[in-house]
Amino acid sequence: MYLKLNHITKVIKGNVLLDGVDLELSGGRIYGLQGKNGSGKTLLLKAMCGLLIPSEGTVEVDGVVLGKEMDFPKDVGVLIENPGFIAGYTAFKNLKVLADIRKKISNEEILSILDEVGLGDCGKKKYRNFSLGMKQKLGIAAALMENPKLILLDEPTNALDEKSVRDLRSILERRREEGALIVVASHDKEELELLADQIFVIEKGKIIETRKQ
């Protein structure tokens, strides 16, 4: 798995939100995107998964250009901004509805990912009654459940307690060992330093610094 961003630029109403970003990322590594609020982290993640159509530049995933040959990468798991689910469904049913689209995983695998993120005991509780942390965990589970080769997570530790953050870290490390390409965006420098192999610092839509861990 590799991801290549060629001079990605996004201009909305005259404002340059992403300014010629060039990146080459490969599988089996965790990358950190560090930046202040409004620096362009989320937009860059959206561009990586095809949700954002760049004004200039291209995104290539394994040699396939997004927006031309396909809209979105075939094997991607994404958590961007607040995870949204159907309020009247349980955690399992929400994941089941999403998993049914690709039909790549069984019910047992859904239950297993729910266990892994710490939602194994939420049973018949409906999403509308979830706490913020539980909602975030469900968002993480949705992003990881189909064992994607490309994982994009935006502020994944938001609303999580310390134990859940540690659990998430170990899940991501396991996925890295399995060869997944993981990009984690966060404003939290320390968190990224604990997790990422390489960190890109983004400011005003530009990569201004690259640090290897």
Partner: protein, 262 residues
Amino acid sequence: MKSLWKNELNRMLGEKDFRITMVLGCGVAVWHFVQHVYHAEMFALEVPENVYVCWMGASAYRMQSYWYYMIFPLLAVLPYVGSWYEDYHSGYVKSVLLRCDRRSYFMVKGVVMFLSGGLGVTVPLLLNFLLTATRRPLLYPDPFIAIGPQSYCIGSELYYTHPMLYTLLYLMFDFVAGGLIAIGAMLLCTRVNYKFVALILPYGIFYLLNCLGTVLGTNIFAPNFFLIPGIGIENVCSLVMVTLFGALILLTYVRRGSVYEG
């Protein structure tokens, strides 16, 4: 793709809003039947009544008919537009979209939304027609009584020669109108910050057009009249208006769907 259809159809039919709309619409339909058909003397008039002049779509003279067509846009948007609003604003759309592609997702969503609007407005009408048909004969409508489209209305000849076909075609016309209103409200959801605004705005437009019709003394611009089979379409302008409205909505929908950015 198949599972996308299945998910969306299941969601639409399982929505509480869909069931509430059906209860509301069918409630009006049954009320009309009970008051004007079941409890009415069939041979009280000199000319025997028939199903085409008795059912809810026969005219706007009866209270239930008038109000049914006044709440027509609400019946179109209530079943499923609210859930789209929540999906769109909560970010759920992105989760589904990333598992398929823009074209498939927006096509499935659009068709199911169209169906929800169409079903919301036509199921009660169909129910009322069937209920009325259990108590009134399927005779040809009499051109000499006051109920029914005027001779200058589009398709009036068909009404008097093949009334069943006319009624079915008109129900399809209403179905399409309901579906287009639902898709229109779906587009509004992406522009407004309150769900009720998206749900109530089509009704507001409908009401304004009704007022315009009253001021101008014509039904040409008043959909709550020209959507009634028994009144008919007086002027081709009404059809042109619906066609232009439909084309604008569909083109906007396709355009927005193809460039949707989460």
